[in-house]
């Protein structure tokens, strides 16, 4: 076998084994989604493990009722979408039971009651809703705080800015871009106790109940067990112990971090494991996607220069579709839209969805420059090859492709770097890659500057290595 054939076989084997592993793991186990940044209900502790009231309640109930489950921490918005698309079996994420949501989901009995408060920067003079007129308010999508603020928006005349996680919302208020944010009381007070430079200036409004949710009409047995378990842990005191543990202690004691570990190097060594696994995921996605996108791109490029009309038409349609679609839309479509369309509980693992997304998007870009590269080869080359009696495909393979690919090398290097960076967008479908790792770490330690600097440096290092490798390959080929 030639080298490229070996590479293709290895790749197929890797993808295949990944699929089979996944189907095994999902047998008889419920997948429960939760938020990533909603302390004290859920947050990532040192070493990447999730902790919080929701997590502990779920664990206690599961133990009582013998429920096998796998926890899946993604953003709140993604968790809710995935539940409605049947990608997960349940969601426990400080989710308010509302009439609106009851149309799509079935809820357990309430396991916590909380109200919404307004918080502002420490030095802010804002005390009342009426002072918000003309100002911007930061909200987290899908939360009770967001719903409440929206309901009073026209009355008080403020503007709204949405965020996907709490920490970015807090920061926006802290640096003064937004005047205030609305958040569930326990969450806000826990955050402030642990170093967020905000203050609560309102009483609790629109008290709501948190419930565990399943998709309407599905997993009734799971819901029943949850309710029974909840009753049991309330009766034996476990529930109270869990809530007190989180509401009455500071974060450090829960996450195991100390103040001395807040230096750049300290943060790095402390979070090495988390960052490392995120980095590994990023590299895995990048390498597999680059290989798949290159294969797709070459196919699209060859189709694009084929004689006749059908090949070029297929090629330009595919390039048009997937180059024109924003990566994030494509990711959501494949991960959430597509299984929704098919129904029957069809699921795509996030990693596979991410891989397909990158393959299609980057492959479309690659196809466009591959086609251009082939077209840049002088027509006389094909004529000379054909005049010797070589069939079209042999001429393509032996004469046109080697020359075209040489022209394309700089574009390939460029595309590889773009692919690496684009993996960060896949955090929206819950893939915990390098960027998402940063979000998670900051969610519990609020060290935005140092962590983002760390993440940026890591990206630059990989891109530098990738560029060196590409340049080396380029020199070898020429």
């Amino acid at each position: 076998m030639k080298k490229w054939q070996v590479a293709v076989v290895m790749l197929l084997a890797a993808v295949g084994s990944w699929f089979s592993l996944n189907t095994h793991a999902q047998a008889k186990t419920y997948t429960i989604a939760t938020d990533t940044t909603f302390a004290p209900f859920e947050f990532q502790a040192k070493g990447g493990k999730y902790k919080g009231i929701d997590i502990d309640i779920l664990k206690a109930i599961a133990k009582k009722e013998h429920i096998n489950y796998k926890l899946k921490a993604i953003s709140f918005g993604a968790a809710v979408q995935q539940l409605s698309a049947n990608q997960v079996d349940g969601v426990i994420a400080g989710m308010n039971i509302t009439a609106e949501r009851k149309k799509t989901f079935d809820f357990s009995n309430a396991y916590y009651t909380s109200g919404v408060v307004m918080a502002v920067a420490k030095d802010s003079k804002i005390k009342k809703f009426s002072q918000l007129k003309g100002k911007t308010v930061a909200l987290k999508t899908g939360t009770a705080g967001a719903a409440y603020a929206k309901s009073i928006q026209s009355k008080y005349g403020f503007k709204i800015k949405y965020f996907n996680d709490s920490n970015n919302m807090y920061n926006d208020v802290k640096v003064g871009n937004s005047a205030a944010c609305f958040e569930d009381y326990p969450v806000m007070s826990y955050g402030i106790k642990n170093g967020i430079a905000l203050k609560i200036v309102s009483k609790q409004y629109a008290a709501g109940d948190y419930g565990f949710a399943v998709k309407k009409g599905k997993n009734a047995a799971l819901l029943k067990k949850f309710n029974a378990g909840l009753k049991a842990i309330k009766a034996d005191g476990t529930y109270k112990k869990i809530v007190n543990k989180y509401l009455k202690s500071s974060e450090a004691s829960l996450t195991g971090e100390t103040a001395s570990s807040r230096t750049f190097v300290g943060l790095f060594t402390q979070n090495l494991g988390t960052i490392g696994s995120g980095l590994w995921m990023t590299l895995e996605l990048t390498v597999i996607s680059i290989i798949l996108a290159t294969i797709l791109g070459l196919i699209l490029g060859v189709l694009g220069v084929m004689p006749g009309k059908i090949g070029p038409a297929i090629s330009s349609t595919i390039i048009y579709l997937f180059r024109g679609m924003p990566l994030m839309v494509l990711a959501f479509f494949i991960y959430i839209g597509f299984p929704d369309l098919i129904g029957h509980g069809f699921k795509i693992p996030a990693f596979v969805a991410g891989m397909i997304t990158l393959m299609l998007n980057e492959g479309a870009y690659t196809g466009a420059f591959v086609k251009g590269g082939f077209q840049a080869v002088d027509d006389g080359q094909m004529e000379a090859a054909r005049s010797l009696g070589l069939p079209y495909w042999t001429a393509m393979r032996k004469v046109i492709m080697p020359q075209g690919i040489r022209i394309m090398i700089p574009s390939f290097i460029n595309q590889f770097i773009i692919t690496l960076k684009d993996t960060s967008i896949l955090s929206v479908i819950g893939i915990v890659e390098l960027t998402q790792t940063g979000t998670l770490i900051i969610a519990r330690n609020f060290e935005g500057f140092k962590i983002w600097l760390m993440i940026a440096i890591i990206y630059l290092i990989i891109i530098t290595l990738l560029t060196w490798l590409s340049n080396w390959v380029q020199r070898r080929i020429n």
Binding site: D378, G380, Q381, E383, A384, A385, R386, S387, L388, G389, L390, P391, T394, K398, V399, P402, Q403, R406
Partner: protein, 244 residues
């Protein structure tokens, strides 16, 4: 039967009719030179002979293969027709030797070792034995064209087509290429040569074909064509060419 038979050949690009009904036969071992003003359709005609251009109408039969027949395997026909282009069209990513051996090896005509042996022999006959491992970009125009001829000959064609083989060359390079072609002609190769080299046509051609306006205006022995032109178009053309 003649080696090449062309009947009522037409070729149009949209509304522009370039070939307006050509008839020509080329015999075995015959050397035919095609002359005429630019845009007269000489090159288009030549390119039709190995299907690089598909005729709009008419029939071409080469060595018994009918090109207009859909069942004809064009690759098989082309193996028997060598073509030399004005701009050489060497494969720039391959060495001189690889340029020559590519087709015979890919098409299973010869093993790699045999093909290389043949290639070195051909390079020797075109006077470039020392250039086997050179890359095309390091060669002069005249050398490139001689490699291109060797590349075409490596397929052991029964007929060779030359499309203005010396037009892109510096004047001092032309002689070397023409010498190679003369030797080929002397060895009995059937050749159709589109050329502006009147001296070559006079000396080597068995027959000269004069084309203008997409039609064959006059054909004949070189002596008759150059010394006793009949049509006013040919007289006019020769006047201009000789005065240059």
């Amino acid at each position: 039967m003649a080696k090449v038979v062309v009947k009522d050949l037409h070729k149009s690009y949209g509304d522009n009719e370039v070939l307006k009904g050509l008839n020509l036969e080329v015999e075995d071992n015959e050397v035919v030179c095609m002359i005429g003003p630019s845009g007269s359709g000489k090159s288009t005609f030549l390119r039709c002979l190995n299907d690089l251009e598909v005729p709009t109408k008419g029939q071409i039969v080469i060595s018994g293969y009918d090109l207009s027949d859909k069942g004809t395997n064009i690759n098989l026909v082309r193996e028997n027709i060598g073509m030399v282009f004005q701009h050489f069209n060497l494969f720039p990513h391959l060495s001189v030797l690889q340029n020559i051996t590519l087709a015979p090896v890919q098409l299973g005509k010869e093993s790699k070792t045999e093909a290389e042996k043949t290639a070195r022999h051909l390079l020797d006959t075109v006077g470039l034995a020392d250039k086997a491992d050179a890359m095309p970009k390091s060669l002069s125009g005249g050398q490139k064209q001689r490699v291109a001829i060797a590349r075409a000959l490596a397929m052991k064609p029964k007929i060779m087509l030359f499309d203005e083989p010396t037009s892109a060359l510096d004047p001092e390079m032309v002689g070397d290429v023409l010498d190679v072609m003369k030797r080929l002609a002397a060895d009995g190769m059937t050749m159709v040569v589109v050329t502006h080299e009147m001296g070559f046509a006079k000396e080597v051609a068995d027959r000269v074909v004069f084309m203008a306006d997409g039609l064959i205006q006059e054909t004949g022995k070189p002596k008759d064509i150059f010394e006793n032109p009949q049509s006013p178009r040919l007289q006019d053309f020769l006047q201009k060419v000789i005065n240059v």
